[in-house]
Assembly symmetry: D2
Homo-oligomer: 314 residues x 4
């Protein structure tokens, strides 16, 4: 990772914003095609440094999951699509951090799924990263497979806390926003007001503890504007798949959104009849649960490109 | 309704805001104890005037459900509770309007519960209000029982579209925010930034069509600040009940929030042991479904005051 | 309660059945029009007699919520509707019993909403019934408003545990199956194989603790067969309302079933156009949450009869 | 597929049963260790043979998804675990069949998620199977990757329709019940009363159309009884993973069940502390959505064995 970086760097400002928003002044402007390195701090604002540090003492909603942004993308106007390619994610330190936070996670009562049971105990774990492996305890080594937990653009008239994923992207916590993939967002305000943060060294499906292997990182990105193409939900493209990320509660509705949007995409761009696309998805779609812990849950529906080869007609 | 009104009037400004937000400059300031008349336009911005008018042509998300506000309440500071008494709701015209809007409502596929089925047809109905009755068609007369569909305060750092109810109140669409009741909100920013709008002449439980009998109205309110009392979710007080309004998806989670908050209230203010309060609620709680159509659904849990008489101890 | 009863009595047999089922031999046969008194034991099999008795020690799934039945109703054939009028419910003892059962209830992790949190403590409460009041603790007196928590018929080829409500009725735990009301079920097997049990002295909406004021009772019923009318879900008729009870998870789906079936009923029997019925329900429907704790949740949608007077046409 | 089969064959009887049930007389008895070939017909009872055949005309609930069974497994007693190894699944004909069925599937209103929208049109597709490929239309070829959609045992006192998956297994429609894997079930009645059917030539995650590539097949199985080991939910073991299949609605609850049971398994058999197992799952668990269309939805949680190597202690 010692390669010489000649790209422009965009750093977290002291006054980093906690909302995807059109209200905040952009901290940088990029041109389509330009490659930039965005520096991000971790979801805890880099405050957890030892197993004795407690998120409930050091971090307070809504001041969590800080993002780097807004980044103004030239030429991006409402009605366009912003396509962001993730080139690489380099750790900015030699450890990740994870935690169990009371009343947060998929297997505990939470503020939304309110119960009267006692909360689970709080735990913080520091996970060294060495030679491409995340060390979980003394014996377990998990491959370093980084992705950006949060990537998104500003909604049209709202400022949304950075824990909530939705049609504008945001805290999707899905492993597919990773190096080599292109992530597309609807442009809703002039310049798109792109944000990213919340790098993860790795994560299980669903992020069921509510916290992945949280990382401060430098993410290398480039931007592309697709003029006049309005999309409704984030799309992800890889060599082998076209994908849609839907976010809602419960998981059922997130899955429905992702699949219906994927079908509409196949109809619009690949010549499929809608019902035929549905019928085919029933046999070949792959479903990936991004998170089941954030204010909206995220599900990614994946269509293998190999079935789209000949303009998709079955 | 010809009584002389000496209260101060707060009118909808031309540049009315569509978000509960700390970003917008207050349009008025009120003192605790002061009685004011707030003028509100209907959820369609008063644009539907005949059965031929179509919401899908005239109204566009997120520019819907306009509110009157922000109203700055003197002395209200973060950590306090804002208590708003609804004295009366007077119709500002002689009809209500309701509609079926494609992809919106509880009994159809929607943007969130995405399906491939064809949408239901769009319909607009103008409902004359005469002698305390809402005329639905030629023969059906429904009693005029008005309430404010939307009442809320600004979140701390966000600007939220006015369709979404949550811990800050908002578009709860519950019949309990009506004349004679006091509605309490957590104060999250200096001055609370209170908003209201979306008057309903009447509504069924759950607002299952997505649209009630929508009204332009003048609502008479007074404000009270409870210093140093931080609440987590909106509370409603009537002569016979103490109530909590929880908002989430699915309905299950909205119900859980409302009941757990009600139990905590009974523990904090009425001397109940939490499990005893739970046990009692199991036998006497009343549940009212506010809406099952907004981005969050709202459920009101109601505890009869008669069981709280002697400091609640069972 | 000293009135002379001349009706035939049907008693719980020692070998009482725990399933709604066509597999079990009927314990009695009734004629349409005949009035009978059915004796039922409580949901715990009458085993909890003191606050020291524990449901987790004395009752074991699936041997819970015992029913009295099957009762063979003469003339009832598949495709018919069985209409059961509840005339009165007399307590068979001078107390009700309620309990908190670990991993059961709406405000705790459960077997279905599985969490890692410690369970809530178990509690049993004996509630004396005196002069029409249920004594909850020393000071709280709740009016005696009895209903049958469980009423149903056998499914066509299944035997279902008596905790689960569905299209065949069953453990709906809704307060509307009470004296003065008629409850209708689809007949799915010859003779209907009617069951009832689980009397409740009173209950809060949602039965959120999982347990109401459980009672051993004698319920006076009469039966009517509506030949050739096939219904899909249980209906309830009172003087003021027609109602449908839908059961599913989450609550959203139970509400949807109840409302769609109510609309279809208004279309079939009262001359409404379906969309007009939907539109009207949006303004006047009443929603009652039966239970949010059983394997399916139950929601009752209620249409005031006054809006149906003139063949419903709006 | 011309290999000589010397195993005993168990054929579908004319009077095949449609319920997992202890009420039906076993059609065969097997010994632990014995390898048998079970013949199964497809979920439509082999009735759809051309694109003109309609499931709504030829198949009627609850007489759908016929199983081969009950198979009595010698030595299997309540409290034991039945482990079934799937050795191979051979198609019994040269085509699979799939369909769109009105009011059934994840992306349409259904009987449970009841809507007023018009149903989607019905479609039947015959899919030739040639050289290990399922031909979907003229150009799309999907690899033949067969699994049994339904495998289960009888519940203790119930007879359950064969569409419903739950703790006894059943219609889980998850791709992991495939050749090379061992599937474990709790034994709830003497002899276990094992059933299987509903072979699928392949299927997308979630089986979102409600119907996979349905197959008549011969499945080669062998049985093992683990005495005195009581499990609560089905487990699946492969070379690389240990897995639990949870079934519930909504998907959230199915995921919760699968993950909590997996954690308990790691605690019981691999020496993990429960919270440590949870913490690890957050980083490495894989989630597979079996179906989101049956009366319960099924989610499989998968733990890579490589992290369990050294008795799992982190």
């Amino acid at each position: 990772m010692a390669r010489k970086e000649t790209s422009r760097h965009i750093r977290q400002t002291g006054d980093y914003c906690f909302t995807y928003s059109p209200f905040h002044r952009p901290i940088a402007e990029v041109r389509p095609g330009e490659k930039v390195v965005v520096h991000t701090i971790d979801a805890f604002g880099n405050k957890l440094k030892s197993p004795r540090d407690r998120a409930t003492e050091l971090c307070h909603f809504p001041f969590v999951n800080p993002q780097t942004g807004p980044i103004f993308v030239r030429d991006a106007a409402p009605g366009d699509t912003l396509a962001v390619t993730v080139h690489r994610i380099d750790p900015d330190r030699d450890y990740a951090v994870t935690a169990l936070i009371p009343q947060f996670g998929a297997l505990t009562g939470t503020r939304a799924t309110a119960t009267l049971n006692d909360a689970l105990p709080e735990q913080t774990r520091i996970l060294p990263i060495r030679k491409g492996q995340v060390h979980f305890g003394r014996r377990i080594r998990i491959p370093y497979r980084p992705f950006m937990g949060t990537m998104g653009v500003a909604p049209q008239i709202e400022a949304i806390n950075c824990l909530t994923p939705s049609y504008y992207g945001g805290n999707m916590d899905c492993v597919e926003t990773c190096p080599g993939h292109e992530v597309q967002f609807p442009v809703l305000v002039e310049g798109a007001h792109f944000f990213t943060g919340d790098a993860h060294a790795t994560q299980g499906d669903g992020e069921i503890t509510g916290v992945a292997c949280e990382l401060a990182a430098r993410v290398t990105l480039s931007f592309r504007v697709i003029k006049g193409q309005a999309i409704r939900w984030p799309r992800i493209l890889s060599r082998d798949f076209i994908m849609v990320a839907g976010s809602a509660r419960p998981l059922d509705d997130a899955l429905r959104i992702a699949c219906v949007e994927l079908i509409d995409w196949m109809a619009e761009d690949y010549g499929f009849d809608r019902l035929e696309a549905y019928h085919l998805l029933g046999q070949v779609v792959q479903i990936r649960v991004g998170n089941m812990v954030d204010p909206n849950y995220t599900v990614v529906a994946k269509m293998p490109r190999k079935y789209l080869n000949r303009r998709g007609r079955a």
